[in-house]
């Protein structure tokens, strides 16, 4: 993926499984969120969405360790210096042409993954005292923990909302301020990227 003279080149950045994973995750997180807030009192569908999200997160973990390069954690998890260096150019009105998750966006990716893992775990061990929507693993932890998990799960709801709005907001910012379409690469896989160091 070498571009002559630092010119961006068109590469197949995101592999098919990662793209499918991304859109499934988006769909089931939104579905679980809406069902949790506005769904029926019987939360069976919300539970199923949660199990699917859990499965998708397991895939992402495996893919982050042994998947194609742009999907790997080692490829996008960086230290504060790189984040700051990247952040300096955030207001510049030009595409990043970043070959993957940029250092700043990586923080958001990690935050979303961690919050979603926590959300799945707290959901599994929640006992909301209604006898019908008890997490399947609530019996494996103490009563105090399964009660507290309901509170953590509720807190997670708002963290997820904030992170998702931030994610969508930044996509729009890149699209309209930096004139870089980040959605299409997540659909087709193809992205204009600068030469990788």
């Amino acid at each position: 993926m070498t571009g002559a003279g630092g010119e961006p080149v068109r590469v197949r950045l995101w592999d098919p499984l990662l793209r499918v994973y991304h859109w499934l995750l988006a769909f089931f997180v939104i579905a679980a969120w809406l069902l949790g807030q506005f769904g029926p009192l019987n939360m069976t569908l919300h539970f199923w969405c949660g199990y699917i999200v859990g499965g998708l997160l397991v895939f992402r973990l495996v893919w982050g360790l042994g998947g194609p390069r742009p999907a790997r954690f080692t490829h996008f998890v960086t230290g504060p210096r790189k984040v700051i260096a990247y952040g300096r150019g955030i207001f510049r009105r030009e595409p990043s042409h970043w070959p993957g998750h940029n250092p700043l966006g990586a923080l958001s990716v990690i935050a979303m993954l961690l919050v979603l893992v926590a959300q799945v775990v707290t959901g599994l061990i929640s006992d909301p005292d209604d006898f019908i929507n008890v997490g399947p693993l609530a019996g494996q932890v103490s009563r105090a923990t399964s009660t507290a998990a309901v509170g953590w799960h509720n807190l997670g709801t708002w963290l997820i909302l904030i992170l998702v709005l931030l994610h969508v907001g930044m996509i729009l910012y890149y699209r309209f301020w930096k004139r870089e379409d980040l959605v299409r690469p997540m659909i087709t896989g193809w992205k204009m990227v600068r030469r990788e160091d």
């Binding site: 009192l41 019987n42 909301p128 005292d129 209604d130 006898f131 019908i132 929507n133 008890v134 509170g151």
Partner: protein, 149 residues
């Protein structure tokens, strides 16, 4: 006059203490009521899940207790000053007192579901499951809005 004043000053803390007692008692009664409901729901939920073998006599026993509890006017224990933050150990949100009519309506839903329980649980595991669903839904409807998470 001086005597009355002295008595009033002396008795003020006592009156305040008595007030606290009333609120603590209301909280205890309220939470005791919830525990009583939960204790009778437990075996039915276990039967619905299959953790406990279906037993019509046992299911009817708990369902009848729930029907009795459904008829109890628990609203009397929603004393002002017993919300979360007002009395230690309370998890009831202040919103409950701003919408007491709604709390009452939601408890009426529980009353209706519980009244149908003794007949409803007859027949087998699936019947119990349906009863637990309808009862549990009324728990959740109120907890979602009026119990601290």
């Amino acid at each position: 006059m001086r005597l009355i004043l002295a008595a009033a000053i002396l008795l003020t803390p006592v009156a305040a203490l008595a007030q606290d007692d009333a609120q603590r008692d209301a909280l205890k009664a309220r939470q005791g009521y919830m525990t009583a409901v939960a204790t009778n729901m437990g075996p039915l939920a276990a039967m619905a899940k299959g953790d406990l073998d279906y037993d019509e006599a046992l299911a009817t026993f708990h369902a009848r207790n729930l029907a009795a509890l459904g008829n109890y006017e628990v609203e009397m224990h929603f004393l002002p000053g017993t919300a979360q933050g007002e009395v230690e150990g309370s998890h009831a949100l202040p919103a409950a007192w701003q919408n007491l009519d709604d709390v009452r309506a939601k408890h009426n839903d529980f009353t209706a579901a519980a009244a149908a329980a003794p007949e409803g649980v007859k027949g087998g595991r699936e019947q119990v499951a349906a009863v637990v669903q309808s009862l549990g839904g009324t728990c959740k409807a109120c907890h979602d809005q009026y119990r601290a998470k």
